[in-house]
Point group: C2
Chain length 329, copies 2
DNA sequence: TTCTTTTGTGGAATCGATACCACATTTTAG
DNA sequence: CTAAAATGTGGTATCGATTCCACAAAAGAA
């Protein structure tokens, strides 16, 4: 590997001059500059990032902590983040926690040892240990999807979107509405969406039978099973619509309903959140909410850049959304 | 940030001893070890990766060059790669070329400046400049999806899979078969799949009208347009089946056919390659080939690990596949 | 007992960059 | 015409680790 010393020697200047030329700060004469540029071109020299990082404490790398790397949401978000950061000369270091909260903490520390300039966290919980690890971090951390005390974040409009969907159900004449959600360790998806649902139901004074509320684990199968449990618990007394917390579970829900010969939406309508590609192609097409993940990714990335520019902020941005009305409601 | 010097001072030993203890090589007494471990635990010290990298030339990071970060294939592959490498203590540095061949080359050089230990390349072409950049690389490079001279790779079974699909068409009684492919800069998808198709057609002595061959650009829309062109060019003389090079284009193809009131597969059957999630949910469900991307990712990652262990190999692995017979044929 | 060998430790060089400082030379100002 | 400011360059310390070498003390062998 050619180093800055080789360049200095070949161009007949000191290492300092090469460095000044590279970073164009300080004075460098035209002749020197030309000689150096020529040598650099010839040798294909690129400065060693690790040496630069060691010296300057800047690596040009941003760490991203994802709950699961191979989901549509993750890849959209990453794409948005990458679009912004790559343009600003940053690379992404991806880590996948496989939904293991302990790993979130581990990675926060590991990424710091790697001297990332910042961390973008797609958290799935807000446990105390996590908050401590964040607090202790030497590099800026921004969050996407969950609101976390003292740090800047972009969050989705879980509350508003859920209520909008309910309003839309009502508009379509539904008064008996069921709910399929996820576990409550996940504040955004598990807690807020459910809260929004419950609040709205109470506000509208609608009945909600106990067996109209079910829970899954994000997977298509779990949506299938949840709906099955709901139907089998009391066939004579079913809701005319079901709000499902995620697209995938909604697709499972629809699978079961079709198998059990319920017509969608005539017998039971289904609405959810996610706007997965799939949602546009299932039969019937799924009414859902687009959280504009890619845009949201761009937005956290922008927040990250702002943090780099010294702006100490703990801004909490709520990202917009779009209700996509299709055939399932 | 606490450094190795702080640890040395607090534990009352020299920096060398701490280092030896950390890497457990050389002699360290039990007492010293205990004191050091205690101090490390208390301070939460982690060695600076950039200093280590600078000194040892090993970064624990593997670069991945992707044509496009937010595709289902990419995320499956990355997930497979990550599963293997993360377990072996490596992190992934992702780059997205946005299908720009110049960026592939740029990233190969950039990643080296970042001192990645190796590069996994999902190439979209095999142009001379790219091969030169690979040749010039100081770190091991392995490829996925394209066969590249002198380097180890995992490639998909494009040829065999295409011919298998044709055989299946025949089995179902189709003799008039059309083809929708992509541009030929892409050796794997553009050239080999087409070659396999043409070879088999010739071998079976089947007629192939000029207007039965069309081209798209991987997108759903381009599949729609390609099929439209085929149909409109000569409605009275259409194939009874179409092989489409990718799932997405096949889905576009089916969209057009349905709009134009052709029944699938009764009037025209459709088969493709990709096994996207979508393919299982469209109406009718799409007959396709599963290239087992995640497994393939694990496999290149393993190849990468072997390269780290000094095994100089240029093995060319062909990954297996599965024909998924569904309703569109 | 004396001579090797093993065990344990610290000093110093090194990796490849940056940045501060000192110094020389040129340019500009008063 | 001299003082001050601007320009250009090299020397050297430094970032935080690893690693080789020298050396001392303890253990084992002769």
């Amino acid at each position: 590997m050619t180093t800055i010393n080789d360049i200095a020697r070949l161009a007949n200047v000191s290492r300092s001059t090469v460095s000044r030329c590279l970073n164009n700060n300080g004075y460098v004469s035209e002749e020197a500059k030309e000689r150096i540029d020529k040598v650099i071109k010839e040798t294909g020299y690129m400065p060693s990032q690790s040496a630069q990082t060691l010296r300057t404490k800047k690596s040009g790398v941003v760490g991203v902590i994802l709950p699961k790397i191979s989901t549509e949401t993750a890849s959209r978000v990453v794409s948005g983040i990458n679009a912004v950061l790559q343009n600003n000369g940053f690379q992404l270091l991806l880590t996948d926690t496989s939904l293991d909260p302990a790993k979130e903490i581990e990675f926060i520390r590991l990424l710091q040892a790697k001297h990332v300039d910042g961390i973008i966290l797609l958290a799935t919980n807000t446990e105390k240990e996590l908050l401590q690890a964040i607090e202790a971090s030497k590099v800026p951390i921004v969050a996407l999807g969950q609101e976390i005390p003292n740090i800047a974040s972009v969050t989705y409009s879980d509350y508003a979107a859920t209520q909008d969907m309910l309003a839309y159900f009502l508009e379509k004449g539904h008064k008996h509405i069921g709910y399929i959600g996820v576990y409550e360790e996940d504040p955004a998806v598990g807690v807020i969406r459910k809260q929004a649902f419950m609040d709205k139901m109470k506000q509208l004074d609608l009945v909600l039978k106990d067996n109209w509320v079910e829970q899954g684990d994000f997977s298509i199968e779990s949506g299938y099973e949840a709906m099955k449990r709901m139907v089998e618990s009391d066939k004579s007394n079913l809701p005319t619509a079901v709000f499902v917390a995620t697209d995938n579970m909604a697709i499972g829900t629809m699978q079961y309903l079709k198998e059990a010969s319920y017509r969608i939406p005539a017998d039971i309508a289904v609405g959810s959140i996610g706007a997965s590609t799939l949602s546009a192609f299932v039969e019937p097409t799924l009414t859902t909410v687009d959280f504009l993940n890619e845009e949201a990714g761009e937005r956290v990335a922008t927040l990250m850049l702002q943090a780099f520019n010294g702006k100490k902020n703990t801004e909490k941005l709520r990202h917009s959304y779009r209700l996509i009305k299709r055939d399932s409601v």
